[in-house]
């Protein structure tokens, strides 16, 4: 009996050996994004003055006798309250601002109790304050170095930036929109409550986990033909106690086909680049209700430095569809709450995004429907599974 088992094992091993060798040769590199958020230049020269919050916009709505005075104390509270109108189903009392009854009594801004962030085009707020500095991070997406040389129709041609390292022609108009908003700035007064931290939390809770899978890798340093998969996953991204992404965790890609993207790529000297293609990445835009949204990135391209220790850093850039980008960042309850604190108003931001749009013009109107932006990417090695993949994978240690 044992001899038969032994014989069967030997035969099985002999039959499997060539397949195992082939699998090792056709190597797949899996990653999880431990950071995926706007790549924002944080220099002091970005903004002449900070963006105005919705609370300030609300000042003219007050009775004349109450309009003047510094934005502080009771006045600030009252203005914030005015800017929070209309969050049906959400009691702003939980925000610790004013009792719900008083808030309802003060509904003056939005008729019909409809959230202004759901209907940004219906309001005409003063212009949003945008980045005026010359420097930004990102990529040269259109291949030109100036608005004049842009291949876009005139209506969409925007002045590009220069990168901190001196690269000209950086297309990142969405940075103009958000670069002066307190919550997007690392030196912002409210950064601890929004942006990076919220993204980290969402990844840890499995709401924004994104996987990368490079297949067909013959040489991880140089390979001119690889396939690059970008997949959204419902699994929580794993971090250690110091908030550093953990390596070698197993993740399963989600079942939604629209959030499974496959791009063509190449690796040169350890740097992965992909050819432009549309990419959709799952996001949530309403943290309370968990409503689905997405980054819909037109002509997206990835540039990633693959480090020998298994980590990777780079950028994912492209033209972000304006409507889906607005949904991700500003629509819904969180957008409305944030606007009362963090230096923007939904209508003003929405108008600004449309004014600065620089990609994918509507053939009928010429108005651009997408805006250039760039996401900073940090990733660590991971095991990427698909709902139909085999149960066992192995990897060699790198230490």
């Amino acid at each position: 009996m044992h001899r038969k088992s032994l014989l069967a094992c030997v035969l099985t091993a002999a039959l499997l050996a060539p397949a195992a060798y082939a699998a090792e040769k056709e190597k797949t590199l899996g990653f999880v994004f431990t950071y995926l958020w706007y790549d924002l230049y944080q220099g002091d020269d970005a903004c002449k003055e900070p963006a105005i919050g919705a609370a300030e916009y609300a000042r003219p709505k007050l009775p004349k006798s109450e309009r003047s005075g510094p934005m502080a104390g009771d006045l600030l509270q009252k203005l914030r309250n005015y800017s929070l109108k209309g969050h049906t189903g959400h009691d702003t009392n939980t925000q610790g601002i004013l009792p719900a009854t008083e808030q309802r009594k003060n509904v003056v801004w939005i008729p019909g109790n409809i959230d202004m962030c759901y209907r940004p085009a219906d309001y005409d707020d003063p212009p949003h304050r945008v980045v005026t500095g010359p420097t930004a991070l990102g990529m040269n997406l259109d291949g030109s170095g100036s608005a004049k040389a842009s291949p876009m129709p005139k209506l969409c041609a925007r002045q590009p930036f220069t990168s901190p390292s001196g690269e000209r022609g950086i297309n990142n108009q969405f940075y103009r929109v958000i670069g002066c908003i307190s919550s997007y700035r690392h030196d912002g007064a409210y950064r601890a409550l929004y942006s990076d931290e919220i993204q980290d939390r969402d990844r840890k809770e499995g709401r924004n986990t994104t996987l990368l899978e490079i297949t067909g890798v013959d040489d991880p340093r140089n390979d001119d033909d690889v396939q690059v998969g970008i997949y959204s996953s419902p699994n929580p991204t794993q971090y250690d106690s110091s908030a550093k992404g953990l390596s070698w965790v197993s993740y399963t890609a989600g079942k939604e086909a629209r959030w499974s993207n496959v791009l063509k790529g190449r690796i040169k000297d350890g740097i992965l680049t992909t050819t432009p293609a549309d990419v959709r990445i799952h996001k949530v835009h309403n943290h309370s209700a968990g409503e689905a949204a997405e980054w819909y990135i037109r002509d997206a391209r990835l540039r990633l430095e693959l480090h020998p220790d298994g980590s990777a850093v780079g950028e994912l850039a492209g033209y972000f569809d304006i409507e889906s980008l607005y949904d991700v960042e500003f629509k819904g309850y969180h957008g409305a709450v944030m606007q009362s604190f963090y230096g923007y108003s939904c209508p003003a931001v929405y108008a600004s995004m449309n004014q600065l749009a620089d990609g994918h013009p509507d053939p009928a109107t010429g108005q651009c429907t997408a805006i250039s932006s760039a996401l900073k990417v940090e990733a660590v090695r991971a095991f990427v599974f698909h709902p139909d993949s085999k149960p066992q994978q192995t990897a060699r240690p790198t230490t």
């Binding site: 899996g30 106690s241 110091s242 953990l246 390596s247 197993s250 066992q392 060699r396 240690p397 230490t399």
Partner: protein
């Protein structure tokens, strides 16, 4: 056919039958030697026995919240520490707290209807009949024996007095039940002896004590109703009656819990309770990793030994194991199953194979920030081979261990140059160095401080050149199966193996080998043996009144 031919055939048949019997006897080993027995003892319930007993008697919805006093390891087993240790005031306070909490849950408004087999005449007054029915029902299960009205009288009285004060019948029952839960009859497994009618001037364990031995060894819990009834009828004093109960318990899925408890003790898994790694050096060794590592090994033990009925020694060479995503991160293997466990096979070229390469060995027997060939070697010697390694001398110089930039092999060379160290370290370090491919968190590595790790050594004369070969060397060591057999027996009877047990142990080892080192056979051999129940003292003359 002629008569002569028929006679010839008959002779051949008889010869063949005798030969077959001879072979079978040889396979089964010799007859069990005459048991010497040991003194009757008392053992405190272990934490897992306590928890499982409460769950079995009152239901899994009754929570035992709190921390138990750490158990003491003696002669290689916590089970033997429990047979020797006293009860500290702090431990008694804990038991008292558990008892009050359990009895409150058992008799709260939501549960009392299903648990109290009668209704008091009035809830505000004592009802001795109803109280006795309740207390006798649970007294039998808690004390693991039949209880007479006289046994229950003090508890019924206590319930009545408490009801008089509280004017609440159920509050009275709570007080009495709390008292039973801290009574020695419950907290201690006491060997009760009685005159042996088959052997004048000898004593034997009572049927109920036999039932407890069987149940706690095989299921890690108190005897169930069927076993108590068998004990009550005297069935456990006959081979047939005993065998019927043993086979029933062995065939039950609850055997898994019994073997999990034994191997948790045998493998020193109480160390998981305090296992911590330096989060800076091993960021992925999170608290859930330790729990998963323990579970991984216990799953394999149960699957390998009980489900597949495989050779015990192969536990140390098998490439089969179980994996979940928490562990996959540390083992660096992909795990498809998002929540839960899946079978995993280490590939043929993977340095991992067997229990020694599990995190439950490599990480458990390491320092918080680095590996330790010494601790691993010591664990192999003491836990798996039942050998004794003396404690270190009081004037140990640890400076060598702190030297930076060296491999463990280089650091440990210091031991061989110091006579006070060499004696012990030469039995620990060489074999522990065989697992240096695993860092302090049990992660695979090929280098230490930038230098390649050399795996080469021998275990009691068997050479190895890889971690997997350490497992093979251990597998071939005759002390390996002998150790687990000895420990299992000692765990079951609650006393250390004595020199007088040599014949029995030889018999047990040979029987284990003849059974192909299959664990269920070893369990059956022990639990149906005379040795398992034999007690030696005191003389019958001193047992006046003990019935």
């Amino acid at each position: 056919m002629t008569i002569a031919f028929m006679k010839q055939l008959d002779i051949w048949f008889r010869v063949a039958t005798l030969a077959l019997i001879g072979v079978l006897l040889a396979g089964c080993g010799a007859r069990e030697p005459e048991p010497k027995g040991g003194p009757p003892g008392m053992r405190r319930l272990t934490e897992s026995q306590y928890r499982q007993t409460i769950a079995d008697i009152f239901g899994t919805n009754i929570k035992v919240s709190g921390t138990f006093e750490p158990e003491i390891r003696t002669d290689g087993l916590l089970a033997l520490g429990g047979a020797q240790g006293g009860l500290t005031p702090a431990a008694y306070d804990q038991y008292d707290s558990f008892a009050r909490d359990i009895s409150q849950q058992v008799l709260d408004a939501a549960n009392r209807e299903s648990r109290v087999p009668c209704r008091p005449k009035t809830q505000s007054a004592a009802d001795a009949n109803c109280a006795e029915r309740f207390l006798a029902k649970y007294g039998r299960l808690l004390f693991r024996r039949s209880v007479s009205p006289a046994d229950m009288a003090p508890w019924v009285n206590a319930a009545g007095k408490a009801t008089e004060i509280s004017h609440d019948f159920y509050a009275g029952l709570q007080i009495a039940l709390s008292g039973m839960l801290v009574a020695p009859d419950f907290l201690y497994r006491t060997d009760v002896v009685e005159p042996d009618p088959d052997r004048p001037s000898h004593v034997r364990l009572s049927g109920f004590s036999k039932a407890s031995r069987i149940s706690f060894l095989l299921w890690d819990t108190s005897p169930d109703e069927q076993l108590l009834e068998a004990a009550e009828r005297g069935d456990l004093h006959s081979s047939k009656g005993l065998d019927a109960q043993v086979q029933r318990l062995l065939a039950s899925p609850r055997l898994d819990a019994g073997m999990r408890a034994f191997f948790s003790d045998f493998l020193g898994f109480e160390a998981f309770d305090t296992l911590a790694k330096d989060a800076v050096i091993y960021p992925n060794f999170r608290p859930e990793v330790a729990a998963a590592a323990r579970e991984q090994t216990l799953r394999l033990v149960v699957d390998h030994l009980l489900t597949r009925k495989q050779d015990y020694r192969d536990l140390f060479t098998t490439r089969h194991t179980f994996m979940n995503r928490t562990l996959g991160m540390v083992y660096r293997v992909g795990v498809k199953t998002e929540s839960g466990w899946e079978d995993y096979e280490f590939p043929p070229d993977d340095p991992r194979a067997g229990l020694l390469t599990h995190l439950s060995f490599t990480a458990l027997h390491s320092h918080p920030g680095r590996s330790s060939p010494t601790l691993r070697g010591k664990a192999m010697r003491e836990l798996l081979l039942c050998q004794t390694v003396p404690p270190p001398p009081p004037n140990v110089d640890f400076s060598a261990a702190e030297m930076k930039g060296l491999t463990a092999r280089e650091r440990l060379k210091i031991h061989s140059t110091s006579p006070s160290c060499a004696g012990c370290h030469k039995v620990m370090d060489p074999v522990g160095l065989g697992l240096e491919n695993f860092d302090g968190a049990g992660q695979l590595r090929e280098q230490e401080n930038g230098m390649p790790i050399l795996i080469a050594g021998n275990l009691d004369g068997t050479e190895f050149k890889s971690a997997a070969e350490v497992g093979t060397a251990l597998r071939e060591n005759p002390a390996l199966p002998a150790c687990v057999a000895d420990r299992l027996y000692a765990y079951g009877v609650g006393r250390r193996n004595a020199p007088a047990d040599k014949q029995w142990r030889d018999y047990l080892h040979k029987g284990f080998a003849a059974d192909g080192y299959r664990f269920p056979d070893l369990l059956e051999r022990i639990v149906t043996s005379k040795h398992f129940y034999e007690v030696s003292a005191p003389p019958v003359a001193q047992l006046a009144g003990v019935q």
